[in-house]
Symmetry: C2
Subunit: 394 residues, 2 copies
């Protein structure tokens, strides 16, 4: 671990404690001291739980994640590519229309009609592709998320498979599941440059749902209500908000967000469609407490761990910077392969500074690497070393 | 089904839709139209989701329960035997002290100390003994709950077993686990008459925890923070709030709440310790939608089901008043034997009025009876017929 990494990590230790974060990272963050109100469209959230990077990017504080089985809606992070549509779109939720295309019998369905085609509830991690970006050594554009662009959420909606079946099945020669967001495109702006439209491999149909409920409540507008495409196991950007068209398509969307954004490539290289897109999430974990200080003697080290697209095998905790590891205990029921699991290890810490790290291993064999390779946009960071915290015990 | 039963049920159909309930049942309810604020100590809850029977008894609306996997804290019902203690008791949560007695080495532990002894997370139904009381034909004293004195909640705390072990194990000859609440007893009132102190069979130790978190947040004062005894599978009253003493005892508490209250006995008979106490919950389910009206064609019938102290085997739905039954589908992951499971059945309804009923069966073989026997205080009602709803389809 070089000095730069350490400095970056220390910034986030401070950040985890609250208000100083925004200033410390020097980015476009809005200072947030708990008294300043959140942006109007998320005014119902708990201001104490957030680091506000911008009006469209609100990060959940690391300490607030705690050992939560489910992330309460008022704590869940926000990352919008475009401003949310006006409130009116959730005034009559069942009347919201979605165009279904690339099927034998294309047509338009209301949410009310979708509700009669099938229902499923799934718990999954919602996580921004750039979660962990702040831990990279190299300069990256985009929000400097540490760990708080992630939450574990309950979604209810109709399986995409049931919708396709109801429309007569897939048309021939279709290779992608393409969802189009309902954000307003300002006049004069070519829609390809900003419209949220993502194309996913058709395997995603196995788990994708069109969801109208989040955490047991009608989907909040700020999270994509009245209807959101939810693809368990896939990074946040693929979970298209206010979805107004769902299509099986032969080609990927021509839009920038699909063609060149969200592509993993070496530092300094431009995005292009030949590079891997940010689809399936990887195995990951992080400690959420203690983050800075602890008393000597017995201490609870806790955090959250996720398998990406697989159940977890184990999560280990180290209190000596990765020299030795001990299995932590999962807390509460397993909510399925796409959900996170809180974990806990009760151990003794002596006086001094200890580097606490966690490392998750999934049942599909994936395990967190010590370092995740740098990449141009700072995506997918699951390296255990940079996610570690230095805790001073006295 | 006689006429009286039908009238009572109809009241609750109205009640489930909102404000008219309080007037319709004619009890001590405070009218609640969504604009009147909730009592101060629960002002953070969503007023639209409640029927306010009194300052100490707030019922979640049936429609609000929906098909929720977890009940959000701001929707969870309130039933307090005594007013909540002042806010100050949650100012320094880790400093709250609990006396541990009836063990080899009795003593006092802080919440901070409890947190180093072990941690578990459990999801379980919290349900008042009198939930369903309003559906009995006979007159009953006590809050006229329909289905809303219940919720499915995530709790985190230390297993009671770990606490007993840490204190050297149980003393000899102890038959009960006795928890004492921290409510203030007004001067001059004999504590036996009102103090919340419950004694449970020692088998309850297998699943009991001392919980400091509810739904991933520090335990709200209104729900027993900073520390609550949570006994998964047991009726609400046994989950002692602001718990300040936990003891293994040879005898049951001498207090009224243990000796004569919460005893199941025939109508007209006084409570006494020879009668069964309200400990383990029974198998139960109810429909949460639709409740009054529906459109012809396909409709989603949904609700919640619980096995009491056992995993569920199945839940069936009838749309013809119990003549025929069809298996419903469970929604989302199984959160364990003490949790409820939302269920759904998509079916077609023709024009007219249909009596929609649900009937749960647990893996331990228990099933909801058609009628639950009347009893003096109106406890434990899990009869499927009175929980049914008449829905008019047009």
């Amino acid at each position: 671990m070089n000095a730069t990494t350490k400095v970056k990590r220390r910034h986030f230790l401070i950040g985890s404690a609250g208000t100083i974060a925004a200033a410390a990272v020097g980015g476009p963050a809005i200072g947030q001291d708990g008294s300043e109100p959140l942006p109007d469209y998320v005014a119902w959230k708990d201001p104490d739980d957030f680091i506000v990077h911008s009006k469209q990017t609100l990060e959940t504080k690391r300490a607030a994640q705690g050992s939560e089985l489910i992330t309460p809606s008022n704590e869940l992070y926000i990352r919008n590519n475009l401003p949310a549509p006006p409130d009116e779109i959730v005034a009559d939720r069942d009347a919201w229309e979605i165009e279904i295309d690339g099927v034998a019998n294309p047509g338009t369905l209301t949410v009310g009609a979708l509700k009669t085609l099938g229902v499923e509830t799934v718990v999954c991690v919602l996580q921004c592709s750039g979660n962990g970006r702040a831990f990279f050594d190299h300069e990256t554009s985009g929000s400097q998320w540490s760990v708080g662009a992630a939450g574990n959420v309950v979604w209810t909606g109709v399986p995409v498979r049931a919708v396709i079946d109801a429309m007569g099945g897939a048309a021939e020669g279709m290779n992608f599941l393409t969802g189009t967001g309902g954000e307003e495109i300002p006049e004069g702006v070519p829609k390809e440059t900003i419209q949220v439209e993502r194309s996913l491999p058709t395997e995603a149909i196995d788990q994708a749902i069109l969801a109208w409920e989040m955490n047991g409540e009608p989907m909040p507008l700020a999270h994509g209500g009245p209807l959101r495409l939810v693809v368990p196991g896939y990074y946040g950007v693929n979970n298209v908000k206010y979805v107004r068209r769902l299509a099986l398509t032969a080609e990927e969307s021509p839009n920038k967000i699909q063609q060149t954004s969200y592509r993993v490539r070496p530092v300094g290289v431009s995005g292009d469609p030949s590079q891997p897109s940010m689809y399936e999430m990887n195995v990951k974990s992080w400690i959420t407490g203690p983050l800075m200080d602890a008393a000597t003697g017995k201490v609870q080290i806790h955090g959250v761990a996720m398998g990406g697209v697989s159940d977890l095998e184990k999560v280990e905790v180290s209190t000596d910077g990765g020299q030795t590891w001990e299995d932590a205990k999962f807390l509460g029921p397993n909510l399925g392969p796409y959900a996170w699991r809180p974990f806990i290890l009760i151990t003794e810490l002596s006086e001094g500074t200890h580097m606490l790290a966690s490392r998750a291993t999934a049942q599909d064999g994936q395990s967190q690497p010590e370092e995740f390779p740098p990449n141009e946009r700072g995506y997918g960071n699951n390296g255990w070393r940079v996610h570690a915290v230095d805790v001073t015990v006295s």
